[in-house]
């Protein structure tokens, strides 16, 4: 019997056609709709705990990309989430640990414990506002804003991460709530003709 490579699966059922991307089963559907939602669970997701305000130079509430394109989000006081391309967890964790003061803080790989998704398009804020009470206006939540709040009653980390000047929100929540949150966002975006867009690497 031939050996087959292990395939990682997102908690969100992929919309056909299905493909394998960096060892993950993903949707290969491509959409050019104005409002799109993408399952970004294959992204490497690290939680870093450290002294408040003392790591990465990024405060709580802000997100920035570092020189290697990793998105670092200040997701809580003394808490950061790092988003990297799929399969980069080990190297990224080493870099994050090196940034911490000696014997202080911790790094956790949450890649398989969290579901991530991205909603992109001019109507992304209007759709997200259907299920999230935080003010998403540009003056309050500009590009690079990061916060944790209730989205469709699920505790969700949200990062406004515009792509090519297109409004975009990257979200992640507990894996168990992934399919529910994805469906809730599809429902919220239905009036804006939201469509599923498949994941394509590096995805961040």
């Amino acid at each position: 019997m031939a050996e087959s490579a292990a395939v990682a699966r997102s908690p969100i059922a992929p919309t056909p056609p299905v493909a394998i991307e960096n060892g993950w089963e993903v949707s290969a559907r491509r959409s050019a709709a104005d409002l799109r939602i993408t399952d970004c669970t294959p992204l490497t997701k690290l939680l870093v705990l450290g002294p408040e305000g003392g790591v990465f130079g990024i405060p709580f509430g802000r997100a920035e990309r570092d020189e290697e394109g990793v998105l670092v989000a200040g997701s809580g006081p003394g808490e950061w989430t790092l988003f990297g391309p799929p399969g980069t967890g080990e190297g990224l964790a080493g870099r994050a640990a090196a940034a911490l003061p000696p014997d202080e803080g911790a790094v956790f790989d949450l890649t398989h414990g969290r579901a991530a998704m991205r909603i992109t398009g001019p109507a992304a804020a209007a759709a997200l506002a259907r299920v999230c009470a935080v003010d998403l206006a540009g003056e309050v939540s500009p590009d690079g804003a990061a916060f944790r709040s209730s989205v469709a009653k699920v505790v969700t980390d949200v990062v406004r991460d515009d792509i090519d000047s297109q409004l975009s929100y990257l979200m992640h929540c507990d894996r168990a709530f992934g399919q529910y949150l994805f469906d809730a966002l599809l429902d919220a975006g239905a009036e804006f003709d939201i469509e599923v867009d498949g994941f394509a690497g590096p995805g961040i």
Binding site: F60, V134, S150
Partner: protein
């Protein structure tokens, strides 16, 4: 809808928080009588007015903080991180955090 001003995240819907309870001073276990412990555990002032209470932002920063809230109107006039507020020379670690009471609060 009731808004609570989290000292970390700003104003948020109260559904994001968990009510912890009135701020009560923990008695000294070495000297407290059974009656004092009973009062500490079970007796609350529950005023119809200003009170100081602790909340937990479970859907946000996941931190505890202290709020001065009017129990009739739900108006909030102050919120702060308990440890930072309560640090004094006699309590450098802020261990009695959340023990301050509003000026109109009842006895207890």
């Amino acid at each position: 809808m009731m808004l609570l001003p989290c000292p970390h995240c700003g104003p948020r819907n109260s559904s994001e928080f968990r009510y912890v309870g009135e701020g009560t001073a923990r008695p000294d276990p070495g000297t407290a009588t059974i009656g004092v412990w009973r009062d500490y555990l079970y007796t609350r002032s529950n005023p119809a007015g200003w009170t100081t209470e602790n909340w937990f932002h479970r859907a946000g920063c996941r931190r505890y903080f202290t709020v001065e809230r009017h129990t009739v109107s739900n108006a909030v006039r102050a919120s702060h991180r308990p440890a930072a507020q309560a640090r004094t020379t006699s309590d450098p670690e802020g261990l009695s955090a959340g023990t301050e009471r509003g000026p109109d609060a009842g006895p207890g």
